[in-house]
């Protein structure tokens, strides 16, 4: 369970563009060997576990002062055993072109492109309590039926919702949380109440 998913709030259009281009190349190469899915999953692990877990490694990747050969040696030593050779080669290509700093942009783009190709959508589900398996499959099939696509769930727990769930697919949010309902009820009651108050002012006041 990760914490509530937050969108990136720094928009680097250059990085986004770069990421898209490299992601297309990576998926293209991986697809020839039929391992696209595996490679993208591994790329995700690389970003989440290694780069996020070790700021030094991320800094080394981004640094222009460490030369290409050194970076390639590091990549070989750290990743060669664990990851698919295509991904390792791809990382070396990035290193050779001084683009290693954009690995996470490549990852975002690659996931989106792969989802697009496989006819999948990413649904971010926020709930007040962790989902159990039955619930999880029910949510996935329900959303899948509506969207007519396969669903990849990304779950997070947010106790502030009190109950119910919030599903976000792309930019659309389906909100059936208790917190939201309470909020709406409060607003409705407040609006309705103030208009009633003005209308029936005399009734509310007695001498």
């Amino acid at each position: 369970m990760t914490e509530a998913v937050k969108h990136e709030t720094v928009l680097d259009t250059g990085a986004e563009q770069l990421g898209k281009t490299y992601a297309r190349a990576l998926i293209g190469a991986a697809q020839k060997s039929g391992v696209a899915e595996q490679v993208v999953e591994q790329l995700g692990r690389l970003v989440d576990e290694y780069l996020r877990g070790s700021p030094q490694l991320a800094a080394a990747f981004a640094s222009p002062r460490i030369d290409t050969d050194e970076k390639a040696r590091v990549i070989d030593r750290v990743f060669a055993d664990e990851f698919h050779p295509i991904l390792v080669k791809f990382l070396k290509v990035l290193a050779g072109r001084d683009r290693l700093a954009y690995v996470s942009a490549v990852r975002d783009a690659a996931e989106a492109q792969l989802d697009d190709m496989m006819g999948r959508v990413l649904a971010e589900v926020r709930t007040a309590v962790p989902l159990d398996d039955a619930m999880r499959s029910q949510v996935a099939t329900q959303i899948g039926n509506i969207m007519n696509k396969q669903v990849r769930l990304r779950e997070s727990v947010d106790p502030e919702l009190i109950g119910g769930m919030v599903v976000r697919v792309g930019d659309s949010v389906f909100d059936n949380s208790v917190a939201n309902r309470l909020d709406k009820m409060a607003r409705r009651a407040r609006d309705g109440f103030s208009s009633q108050l003005l209308k029936k002012f005399s009734q509310f006041t007695s001498q």
């Binding site: 720094v10 930019d171 659309s172 059936n176 029936k200 007695s206």
Partner: protein, 505 residues
């Protein structure tokens, strides 16, 4: 007085019982950056241009710039409590404001929220703020007069219902005063008035509201105020909001008068927003579509065809010039959009000619057709005569000897200038205006001391009101000068002059 808590609780209970919950589906985005009244939002991929969005603090925004990776939103409200990462919700509606009789007599902000402490506007009628103006087939030429109650304007640059007449001039030359007098004169005429204050000091707006209230004009007037301290997006939408409120009356066969005070500040607010949104600047750093910003606003003033009820919106946009520079960008734009302009000048203003209208370059391109016939008969040629007089006056100052004809032209001019002076907040009914100008243009004032012309006029009108009320009402009803009526007026003037002795000052 005490509140009955049981009643209140029952109303609350009703509200809660009638609440039905549906799954809330919304289109969202995330705030990337915010400041200076604008926000850049990631997401909102299905939002449309001009669509309303809502921020978590309740502020409303408008999708202003749709870009490849983000949406530029202008924030109509408090932007100081919006944070990076906040969720923005698309409301899938266009901005609209309350309209109808409920807004009359109120002081509102451009979103229709009360500024006068009288509680929210209670109405079901709303109108979209931005609409496309009515087309050619739905209109008819301007034909009805809209009396401003100011002699100089009604005689020389008459305004018709449905006309756009620009009031232009430097700061402190009485532009607002002209507009306020025009509003005051609509009392009992069935014309709803809208005073849109854009980027003004809140103190001066309070002053205007006070005057309107004092002279009983708030009964048919709405003040839409976005002061100098409101964010630029609010100043930008204020005139559109005011027009939307006025349109409700126009489309229901009524008449409305809208004063935009002033459009140069709106252009400045629009420039600020556009620059912050990184739209390319053009002349004087205004964006390329600042002309459209004003033309689409003023195009909404119209006289509707009889099939649509014959309603109208008359607008009096105000533009402030710098050092009399009418060839700056915004003034030339608005001059070319409007159906004429009233040009007020500081030197006239400070020499005591108030309203300080320069007759030579003030025009009304369509109002002549709408002018009251009798007024047209007495004031025809007055504007050109006055313009010629100004030229002659400059020449006469050289101290040259003048022939008798020129001298008499000068004397007539001095008296007409005197006659056209009018104190503030004292709009005049049209029949009295006709009498005054008749006396001036037909030479009945030529033997009156220049200094006593104003006193003479005042006493004469008092005399006419007291002794010849029937003549005034006949003039008002007929609106045209027959030969018989002309003779009657002449005899009244002669009668007055025979018994009149000016009180020495």
């Amino acid at each position: 007085m005490k509140f009955n808590s049981d009643e209140i609780a029952s109303v609350l209970q009703q509200e809660i019982e009638h609440f039905d919950s549906k799954i809330d589906v919304r289109e969202v985005g995330t705030v990337l950056e915010v400041g200076d009244g604008i926000a850049r939002v990631y997401g909102l991929s299905g939002v449309m241009a001009g669509e309303m969005v809502e921020f978590p603090n309740g502020a409303i925004g408008l999708a202003f710039n749709l870009e490849e990776n983000s949406v530029g939103v202008i924030i109509l409200g408090d932007y100081l409590t919006i944070e990076e990462g906040d969720e923005v919700k698309a409301l899938s509606t266009l901005l609209s404001v309350p309209a109808g009789d409920a807004v009359i007599g109120r002081v509102l902000d451009p979103l229709g929220n009360p500024l006068d402490g009288k509680g929210p506007v209670q109405t079901d009628v709303t109108r979209p703020v931005e609409i496309i103006a009515t087309g050619v087939a739905e209109r008819q030429p301007v034909s009805e007069p809209l009396q401003t109650g100011i002699k100089a304007i009604d005689a020389m640059t008459p305004i018709g219902r449905g006309q756009r007449e620009l009031i232009i001039g430097d700061r402190k030359t009485g532009k607002t005063a002209i507009a306020i007098d025009a509003i005051l004169n609509q009392k009992g005429e069935g014309v709803k008035c809208f005073y849109v204050a854009i980027g003004q000091k809140d103190s001066s707006v309070a002053g205007v509201v006070d005057v309107l209230r004092k002279y009983g004009a708030m009964e048919y007037t709405t003040v839409i105020c976005s002061g100098a301290s409101s964010p630029a997006p609010l100043q930008y939408v204020a005139p559109y909001a005011g027009t939307a409120m006025a349109e409700h009356f126009m489309f229901n066969g009524g008449h409305a008068l809208v004063v935009y005070d002033d459009l140069s500040k709106q252009a400045t607010a629009y420039r600020q927003m556009s620059l912050l949104m990184r739209r390319p600047p053009g002349r004087e750093a205004y964006p390329g579509d600042v002309f459209y910003c004003h033309s689409r606003l003023l195009e909404r003033s119209a006289k509707l065809s009889d099939e649509l009820g014959g309603g109208s919106i008359t607008s009096l946009p105000i533009i402030e010039t710098l050092e009399g520079e009418v060839s700056a960008y915004i003034p030339t734009n608005v001059i070319s959009i409007t159906d004429g302009q009233i040009y007020v000048q500081p030197d006239l203003f400070f020499s005591g000619v108030r309203p300080a209208m320069n007759a030579g370059i003030s025009v009304s391109r369509v109002g002549g057709a709408a002018q009251v016939k009798a007024m047209k008969a007495v004031s025809g040629g007055l504007r050109l005569d006055l313009a010629a007089f100004r030229a002659l006056e400059a020449f006469a100052q050289l101290g040259t000897d003048l022939d008798a004809a020129t001298q008499s032209q000068l004397d007539r001019g001095y008296r007409m200038v005197e006659l056209l002076k009018q104190p503030q907040y004292r709009p005049m009914p049209v029949e009295e205006q006709i009498l005054s100008i008749f006396a001036g243009t037909r030479g009945f004032l030529d033997d009156v001391e220049i200094k006593t012309v104003q006193q003479w006029e005042q006493d004469f009108l008092q005399f006419a009101r007291d002794k010849h009320g029937d003549l005034l009402s006949e003039l008002r009803e007929k609106g045209a000068l027959s030969e018989e009526l002309t003779a009657k007026i002449e005899s009244v003037i002669k009668e007055f002059k025979a018994g009149y002795k000016p009180i020495p000052a």
